[in-house]
Amino acid sequence: MGSAVSPELAARVHGDRVLAGFLSPLPRLAEREEADLGQTFERFGQLASRSRLTARVVFQVRAADGTDPRPWSLELTPGACQVSAGAAHRPDLTVLVGEATWRQLAASTVSPLEAFATGELRVRGNVRLASQLVELVRGE
């Protein structure tokens, strides 16, 4: 995926308090792009557990073959994050993402804003929480 975000647009988005959080890539969540999806969410949860946040986040990962999305849930409590395969009741945030796009995010080859720009990433619920989570995972 080429960069969908021009330097000019990145500079303008930089001033937006929500969108700016999605400009930089996540840290690598797995050694290999073809790593088990569960490992990438475990790593994401590990990095997110450094927070004082309490939140329930669901990732719905859509496979290219059109089968039903596979849900992964993250239950954040201050200083901890429990990751499980499966959906959660009334999540604060739902991230809908294609599997290929998630693997690129986990491999740090695209930024969340680039993934969003292609349309292959949707964020529903508390959008500010999404921005906070991304910053946390990056260690900011």
């Binding site: 647009l9 969108l19 720009a117 349309g119 619920g125 959008v127």
Partner: protein
């Protein structure tokens, strides 16, 4: 294609990107893409995007619900509706 109906909490327009944020009746927010760095854009698309922004502004100012249609698993709006056909 999925449809989301909600009130408009934000319209953000850059020269090469436009976003809107809707809030549905359950209080869930979602950011949608109006346009984003199109490599080429026709006069028709420019007018359509301008019309979308006008409708969103009208809805935002008056607290009216809008419905957006977007492809499954994709945040790009393909059509936008304010009001319903009677």
């Amino acid at each position: 294609m999925p449809i989301m109906t909600g009130t408009v909490s934000c319209i953000r327009v850059f020269d090469d990107a436009g976003f809107t944020q809707l809030v549905d009746s359950a209080g869930d927010e979602e950011i949608f893409i109006l346009w984003f760095a199109p490599p080429e854009i026709s006069a028709f698309e420019r007018i359509m995007h301008s019309t979308w922004v006008s409708l969103l502004r009208e809805a935002m100012v008056n607290g009216l619900p809008v419905s957006v249609v977007h492809p499954d698993g994709n945040a790009r709006i393909t059509s936008l509706q304010l009001g319903t056909l009677q």
